[in-house]
Amino acid sequence: MTREVLTVLVLVCLGYLLLTNLTYVALVLVAAVENVVRRHERASQDFEVLGESRFTIPVSVIVAAYDEESAIVSTVTSLLALEYPEFEVIVVNDGSRDRTLARVIEAFDLEPYEVFVRRTLPTGEIRAIYRSRRHRNLLLVDKENGGKADALNAGIDLARYRYVCGVDADTVFDRRALLKGMRRVVEDPARIIGVTSHLAIAQNPERVMAAPAGRRPIDGRPFFVYQHLDYLRAFFNNRLAWSRLGFMLCSVGAFQIWRRDVLEEVGGYSRTFTCEDIELTFRVHEKYLREGRDYEIHCLPDNMGATEGPDTVRKLVAQRERWQRVIDETVWSFRGMWFRLRYGAVGLIGCPFYLVTEVLAPAFEALSIVSLVAAAALGLLDPSALVLMLAAVAFLNAALTASAILLEDLQSRTYRVRDLVRMLLLAPLDLVLYRPIMVWARLKGSWRFLRGDKAWHKFERNVRAAA
């Protein structure tokens, strides 16, 4: 009996593996087309004109900061250096317990300031507002702690402009990030309501972004290389394809541009979910599709900057279990869209894709490990067949990773050749060195979702060397 059950389990897991990887391959092909189109589009783009034109739509950049004393000054400095005709930076200190507030006040010469705040979105109490004596486009809002969603909503209430760009306080941005992000929007602001894009991951983002594109280093430790590869796969293999197929379901928190009236219409970022970004994207899709409105949400293949990645396994697990939890929360919360014709590609492809490859993945991954090990232990599975299977999965992952690297390199030529080689060589070992951590984090996240845990579990910031 056990043998029969094990056989069925192994075959089911094998089926799952084939199904998901076939889906990924199909998405890579779609992403490749999208990447080429965007590359052509970018090649005929003139950022100089866009950067000087008064017709380029102004943007309010909102930085939600909670206990970010080590990173906040670099982040704001990089934002103030953005090449963009008209923008403002609103830093929202969400009741930090460390010196985040003091560091911003000191670094940018801020003074207390009183301004009328429109309460379009309800937020926690604002304690004080500061403005910079040196940078007239920099505002700091000090509010009581209410979570990232609440901080972003407070920023939206203060924003002057029609588009807002929510960013993370641990990210260092490319000087042209906003131009790259808004280039599609300015062409069709009536339809394009949301844009997100790709970010590199680094232990020390300042160091990475200090180098020009084409010479940007990748942090040496394989631990960071794997996180970076994970990001590349997520953005280039998946989100580009989603964008092309009309179901871009996750505008990432580190860089997300939204038309402000859309945010106000949907009630801003939700405070009831573990994270704010993916849920908001789902909510916007749900509302616009339900009301039959014409709109587009895009993921662009441009590198916008570098964000800080966890530097220990414990921190990484804390981060990824949170991501898994919010995916589970969101997909479950929007179950009304699953397989519904009314929701078009989002309901028929996007939601099922999330369900199969994200929500159910931890269960299948755990089941695969248990059943394969048990089958081998019981002599049902030959060790050589097991090794062959593991090698096949490892190279399948490596091929998908190489696709993502190729798409990135064709698009931006961001990294040095030696880093490209290193990434390619490390790719097959992902299954052994990195994937087990992900499986554990995702299982933990799923378990916490089932228990109803909604805490943020923010990872402690890395200790950075001077840039």
Binding site: V33, H40, V49, F116, S384, L406, D409
Partner: protein, 340 residues
């Protein structure tokens, strides 16, 4: 089970290992080739066969998106080679139903910048090919050459075209004065807004009168532009009228009025003080905010902290206003102490 697992694994390996190797080689070799090409500084001249191929590609009417972008790429290379057929070849790209492709043609025309390219851009603006805001950006960058072509847009039947004509004339204060003034009475509110914004770059009594009239426009966004233009053109003379807009029902209008009054500096203070007695809470609050921004509140608090006027401003500014001014002054005192 062994056979199934082994067979699946072998098939996957047979596909994935070569794929990984091929992709890796493509990446590394492709990148090295790119780097080598980048290092070569001289531009390579296109051979006649290459030109013929590019012309053929640019002439094609592709059905796929991919093909359309290949056509754009071919056109770009022909422009770099100063090919004589470019003016003829670019027109169909400009008319492409995909606005992104049409916008790529717009950018190419902007880079060319010759008389014929400007004429095509203006024509595209009239006909709605591609993104009008991108056409406008290109035309503005080519100023002053497109000036004469733009005046004609003001009389177009299409309000969108009149809007862009009026907007772009902001760079040409000497052109079409009376027509732009007349457009402040256009039936289309977008045109009125554009006209009044453009008048903000001009001067004269007729201009001032037209702007003042639009401060009472029925559309809020016309009032926004009128407030900003009034501040620029009429200066302190318009301050009492602009200050009235601090009580406007629309947030954007109130914000524009604050910006305009801020721009007037201390000269706006009398008009702002008059608003402190306004029945509307937002108007009083806005007046207090601008008084703070122009430095009036801080200097009054330094010179006469017990002034009843200061109390009225604090009251108008809301509960935190007094506290914020106090904190700012403490900073000033601390700095003075440090300097001493």
């Amino acid at each position: 089970m062994n056979d199934v697992v082994r067979s699946v694994a072998l098939v996957l390996l047979a596909l994935s290992v070569p794929a990984w190797i091929a992709l890796s080689l493509t990446i590394v070799l492709g990148r090295l080739r790119y780097e080598r090409r980048r290092r070569v500084t001289t531009t390579t001249r296109l051979g006649s066969r290459a030109v013929a191929r590019l012309v053929r590609r640019a002439r094609r009417r592709p059905r796929t998106e991919w093909g359309r972008w290949r056509r754009v790429a071919a056109l770009r290379r022909l422009v770099e080679a100063h090919h004589a057929e470019v003016p003829r070849l670019i027109r169909p790209v400009l008319e492409d139903p995909d606005p992104r492709v049409a916008t790529a043609a717009i950018r190419i025309l902007g880079n060319i910048g010759d008389g014929w390219a400007i004429a095509l851009l203006v024509d595209a603006l009239r006909r709605g090919y591609g993104s009008r805001s991108r056409i406008a950006a290109e035309l503005e960058r080519l100023a002053p050459a497109p000036g004469p072509e733009l005046v004609r847009l003001l009389r177009d039947w299409n309000p969108v075209v009149r809007f862009w004509g009026a907007t772009l004339l902001g760079r040409y204060p000497e052109r079409a004065g009376s027509t732009v003034i007349a457009l402040t009475w256009d039936p289309d509110p977008n045109v009125r807004a554009a006209a009044v914004e453009t008048l903000g770059t001009r001067s004269g009594s007729a201009v001032g009168a037209a702007i003042l009239a639009r401060l009472d426009d029925s559309e809020w966004f016309v009032r926004v532009h009128a407030a900003r233009s009034a501040g620029r053109v009429l200066g302190v003379e318009a301050a009492p009228t602009i200050a009235r807009l601090l009580a406007d029902e629309h947030w954007w209008v109130r914000t524009a009025a604050k910006d305009a009054l801020r721009g007037l500096g201390p000269a706006a203070v009398p008009s702002l003080l008059a608003i402190l007695a306004h029945e509307d809470r937002f108007a009083r609050n806005g007046a207090a905010e601008v008084l703070q921004d122009v430095g009036f509140v801080d200097s009054l608090a330094l010179e006469n902290p017990s002034s009843p006027l200061l109390e009225r401003i604090y009251e108008a500014g809301g509960e935190r206003f007094r506290e914020v001014v106090g904190a700012r002054l403490r900073d000033v005192h601390a700095e003075e102490m440090r300097a001493a």
